[in-house]
Amino acid sequence: MTANSLSKYEDLLYSIINEAQKYNVEYAEARFHSTQHLAAILQNGESKPTISYEKQGVGIRMIYDGVMVFASTNMFDDSLNTLIEKSISRAKSSKKISKAPIEFSSEKSVNKEWSASEKENLKNVHVTDMISILKDVDGYITSFNSDVSLPNRTLGIDNSIEEKFYVNTEGTHILSRVPRVSFHSIITANHNGQLSAFSIPAGYAGLGRSGGWEKIKSFDLSSYIPEQLIIASNSIKSKSEKFDEDIDIIVGPDIAGLVAHESCGHPFEADRILGREAAQAGESYLGFDCYGTKIGSEEVFVSDDPTIPESMGFYLFDDEGVESRKRELIKGGVITDLLHNRETSFKMNIRSNAASRSVEFDKEPIIRMSNTFIEPGDYDITELLSDIKKGVYIKNFMEWNIDDRRENQRYVGFEAYLIKNGELDINVKSPVLELTSKKFWSSVDARSKNLDFKAANCGKGEPMQGAPVWTGAPDVRLRNIRIGTRS
C-alpha cells in the first residue's frame, strides 16, 4: 500500500477538534483533504499546457445548538482558531432561521487506513508517457480513412490522487488514498459540409478507473478508438427514421447506466427527498415513506456499490467515517434502500449507509452516488433481439436531460440501429427516447449478461461538486416505447 502523505497532519486535525470542543459542540469533524491532478491535453495535435493542480486544506464541520456550520481553509496559522470562533458565532446568529435541530445517527467509531489498489504509483508517471499515448490516439484519428473527415479533436488524460485524513469528536480516525486514471475526448466530424461534434466514449463520458498507471492499459485505446471512429462515422452518415407506433427497444449499457444514475440514483438520495437540494439539483419523485413501493417491473434491479475494486466511485469509508457497503436500491421492481448520510438516517431512525462524500476540502460532505448500475440478467444480446420484429437498438447517446424531480427524461441516440425480424439492420440517426421514469422502469422486460461501466462526473451541491462515479448496466429491453426523431 502506498503511504498516505497526510499522516503528518494528525496534530493539526486534533488541535481543531480540541478547539471545537471548547465551544461544547454536539459534533465536530476535521478532514484534511488533498486532491492532486496531472493532466495532459492534446488539441488538434498541439499540446495544451500540462496541468498540475494541487489543492489541499482542511474542512471542518460542527453542529452547535442544532445548527450545522462548515468552515474550510488552507491557512494553518492563528487564523484557523479565529475561523472556528467565527463559525460558532455564525451558528449562534443563524439560530433564528433554524426550524429544526440537526442531529446525526449513532455510528460506531473506527480507526482505519485504506486505499485503492495501485501497482504503478501515479506520482512516478512522466508527462512524456501521457503525451505519447495521446499522440498515438491522435494518429488513429488523423489517419482515419473515410468520407467523414475529422478536422478537430481534443484529447486528454487525467491522473489524480485523492487523499483524506478524517477525525471526529467520536474517536473516528481514518486515512485514505484513491488514485484514478481517466481518458476523455471531443472530436468534430465533417460530412458533406455538416459539422458534428461527438465524444469518445459518447455522451461526454470517459474511460476511467481507480488505481495506478497500470489502468491506462485496460482502456485498450489502440483497439477501442479506431473501432469507435468507424461506429461514429456510420452514425453521422445515417438517416433518421420516423416511428408512428410504439415499438420494442433495447438500450445499451451507456444509456441504461445513465438511466440508473439519473432515474434511480439521484431520486433515491435522501437529502433530495427531504428537500435539501431543492433550490439547485432539485427534489425527487419519491417520498420518504417509499420503502417497499413497487416502482418497476420484476426485471428491475438497481444497486449502488462503492466497494467495486478499480471503480471511479470506489471508497471503503465515507466522509462521515461510516463503513461503505453495497446498497440494493431496487429489487424486483420494489424500492429496498435509499442513499443516506448520518443526518437523513437519523430522521429515519436507521443507520447511515455511508453515502456522504466531499470532492475537495472546501466543500461540505453531501449524499453522493458511487457506482450506480442496473444488475445484469441472464440473456445474451442475440436473445434480446430475437423476438423483436421492428424496433431500435440505441447503444449510446450524446444529448440527455431530466427534470428536477427526476420524472421526465430524454436521451438522444448516437450509435443506434434499426431492428428488423430479430436482427440488427442499418444505422438510424438520433432516435429520441423521451419518457417518464415510471414508464422506463415499468417497461423493462429483460436484461443481458454483459455489465459495462463508464466513468462520469456527477454534479450536485452548492458550491457545485463534481464527484467521480461509474454508471453501469447491461443491455436492457423495453416493450412498447414511443420513439421520436430529433428535428
Binding site: 499546457p49 468552515a71 432561521i97 481534443t154 420524472e407
Partner: protein, 442 residues
C-alpha cells in the same frame, strides 16, 4: 499568512528557473454561504483560501497549475515539479510570449471591500426572502445566499505587477406550494446593500402560487417569452461559442462565421471585463492584458471571437483580455436591451408560452448548437397576448443558431443573472423567440 512572504518565495524560485515566460496569480478568497430548505437553514459555510496559479513557458513548452500548499518547501518542490512537467511537454507551435505592456488598467471604482464579517446581513437577507415568499403564497422555501470577496495579485515575466479585487453576492430562492407548484427568484449584486431579498422572495412566491394545477401542453412549435433567467442560459452558451478555443476545438457553432449574420438585427452582445454595477469585475486577465468590452455580436453580425495571447497570435488579432492561460473565456455577458416592455412582449404573442426558469441544458451536437433544456418552476400558456393556464412537463429542443436568428423582441429592462445553472454572469433582457420546438415525455 503574510502574502508578501509567499510572493517573494514564488518570485525567487521562479526567477531561478530561467523560464522564457512565467506568471503567477495569487488569489485570496473569502466566501460565506448559507444553504436553506423547508424555511430553515441547512448549513452556514465559511471558506478562507489562498491559492497560487502559476504558468511556466520555456523553449516553446508550457505547463500551468494551482497550488494551495503554501509552506516554503512545498512551493519550491511544486515549482521544481512544474518546471519538469514543462520540460517534458511537447513544443507548442502556437507558443506566444506573455503580453508585455505597458498597460493602463481601469482603476476599479465599482466596489467597496466591506464584506468580511457580513454574516448578520446575509442571515437577514435569507430570513427576509423566506418570509416574503411565504407571504406570497409559498408553503416551503429553499435557496442559497453566497457572498464572495476575492483579492488577486498578478506578476508576470513581462513586467506586469497589478492587483484587483471583486465582490459577488448571489441570492437564489425557490418557493413551493402545498400542491408542489414552484417559482424561482434571484437577486445578484456586487453590493450586499443592493440585494433585493424581498423582491426575490415575492417573485418566487408569486410564481409558485400562480402555477398551481398545471396542465399538459401539446408538443409543437410555439413563440416563447423567456424571462432573463432563461435567456441568460442561452446567452452563456453564445459566449462560450465565441471563445477562440471553442472554435479551435470544434465545438462552436460560430466557426467560420465572423462578419456573417448570426442573429436578428436587434441583438448585440458583448463580453465585459469590468462592468459598472456588474457582479464580477476584473481589470486584467490572467496574462495581464487589460480586460475590455468586446462586441461579439453587433446588430446581428458576428464581429469578434474572444482571445488570450496564444489564440490572438494564431488568428492575427489583438488579445481581447479574456485569458485563461488554457483558453479564453467570458467574464460577463452584456446583452443589448430592446425597445419593448415585458407587457408588450406578452401581448405580441397569440399562441405561445412564458418560461420563467430552466435547467439541464445539454447538446446533441455542440458544433451545430443543437440542444435541449428542461423548463422548471412556473411555465404558462400565452393566449391572445395574456397569460392563461400554467403547464408542466415540457422540454425545449432546438438549435441556438436558429433561435438567435428568430429573436423577435428584447425587453427594455435587463437583469443580472448568475446562479447554479447560469455560471457566467449575464446582464439579460427578456426575449421572445419565434417557432421554438417543444416536446414532452410519453
Amino acid at each position: 499568512m503574510n502574502l508578501n512572504n509567499i510572493l517573494s518565495i514564488v518570485e525567487n524560485k521562479i526567477s531561478s528557473l530561467n523560464c522564457d515566460d512565467y506568471s503567477f496569480l495569487l488569489s485570496k478568497e473569502y466566501e460565506d454561504l448559507i444553504r436553506f430548505s423547508n424555511n430553515s437553514i441547512n448549513v452556514f459555510d465559511s471558506t478562507e483560501n489562498i491559492a497560487i496559479e502559476i504558468y511556466l513557458g520555456k523553449d516553446k513548452k508550457r505547463a500551468s497549475g494551482v497550488i494551495y500548499n503554501l509552506d516554503e518547501t512545498s512551493i519550491i518542490n511544486y515549482l521544481d515539479s512544474l518546471f519538469q512537467y514543462c520540460n517534458d511537454s511537447p513544443i507548442n507551435n502556437d507558443y506566444t510570449h506573455l503580453p508585455s505592456g505597458p498597460f493602463t488598467y481601469e482603476i476599479n471604482k465599482h466596489i467597496e471591500i466591506d464584506q468580511i464579517n457580513n454574516s448578520e446581513s446575509i442571515i437577514d437577507h435569507v430570513e427576509n426572502s423566506i418570509n416574503s415568499a411565504l407571504q406570497h403564497g409559498a408553503s416551503r422555501v429553499c435557496g442559497s445566499f453566497t457572498s464572495r470577496m476575492s483579492e488577486i495579485i498578478l506578476i508576470t515575466s513581462a513586467g506586469i505587477e497589478s492587483k484587483d479585487e471583486s465582490i459577488t453576492n448571489l441570492l437564489n430562492i425557490r418557493a413551493f406550494t402545498e400542491s408542489k407548484s414552484s417559482g424561482h427568484g434571484l437577486s445578484c449584486s456586487s453590493s450586499i446593500d443592493d440585494i433585493d431579498s424581498e423582491k426575490a422572495g415575492i417573485d418566487a412566491g408569486d410564481y409558485a402560487k400562480s402555477s398551481i394545477n398545471p396542465r399538459q401542453c401539446n408538443p409543437g412549435k410555439y413563440d416563447i417569452l423567456f424571462t432573463p433567467t432563461v435567456a441568460a442560459d442561452i446567452f452563456q452558451f453564445v459566449g462560450h461559442a465565441a471563445s477562440a478555443d471553442s472554435v479551435d476545438s470544434g465545438d462552436s457553432f460560430f466557426a467560420n462565421k465572423i462578419n456573417l449574420k448570426v442573429s436578428s438585427d436587434d441583438l448585440s452582445l458583448s463580453d465585459v471585463g469590468n462592468p459598472k454595477n456588474g457582479i464580477y469585475q476584473r481589470i486584467f486577465d490572467d496574462e495581464g492584458t487589460p480586460t475590455q468590452s468586446t462586441k461579439i455580436i453587433d446588430n446581428g453580425i458576428l464581429t469578434n471571437y474572444l482571445h488570450n495571447i496564444t489564440t490572438s497570435n494564431k488568428y492575427g488579432v489583438k488579445s481581447t483580455g479574456n485569458a485563461g492561460i488554457m483558453a479564453p473565456f467570458c467574464w460577463n455577458i452584456d446583452v443589448s436591451s430592446g425597445n419593448t416592455t415585458f407587457e408588450e412582449q406578452l401581448s405580441s404573442i397569440n399562441n405561445g408560452l412564458l418560461i420563467t426558469n430552466n435547467w439541464y441544458t445539454r447538446f446533441q451536437n455542440p458544433a451545430a448548437g443543437s440542444y435541449s433544456t428542461v423548463p422548471r418552476d412556473a411555465c404558462f400558456i400565452i393566449e391572445n397576448g395574456k397569460i392563461s393556464s400554467p403547464i408542466h412537463g415540457i422540454r425545449i429542443s432546438d438549435d441556438i443558431p436558429r433561435q438567435l436568428l428568430n429573436i423577435d423582441s428584447l425587453s427594455q429592462t435587463r437583469k443580472w443573472i448568475n446562479w447554479w445553472e447560469v455560471e457566467t454572469p449575464v446582464l439579460s433582457p427578456s426575449i421572445v423567440i419565434k417557432d421554438v420546438p417543444v416536446t414532452r415525455s410519453t
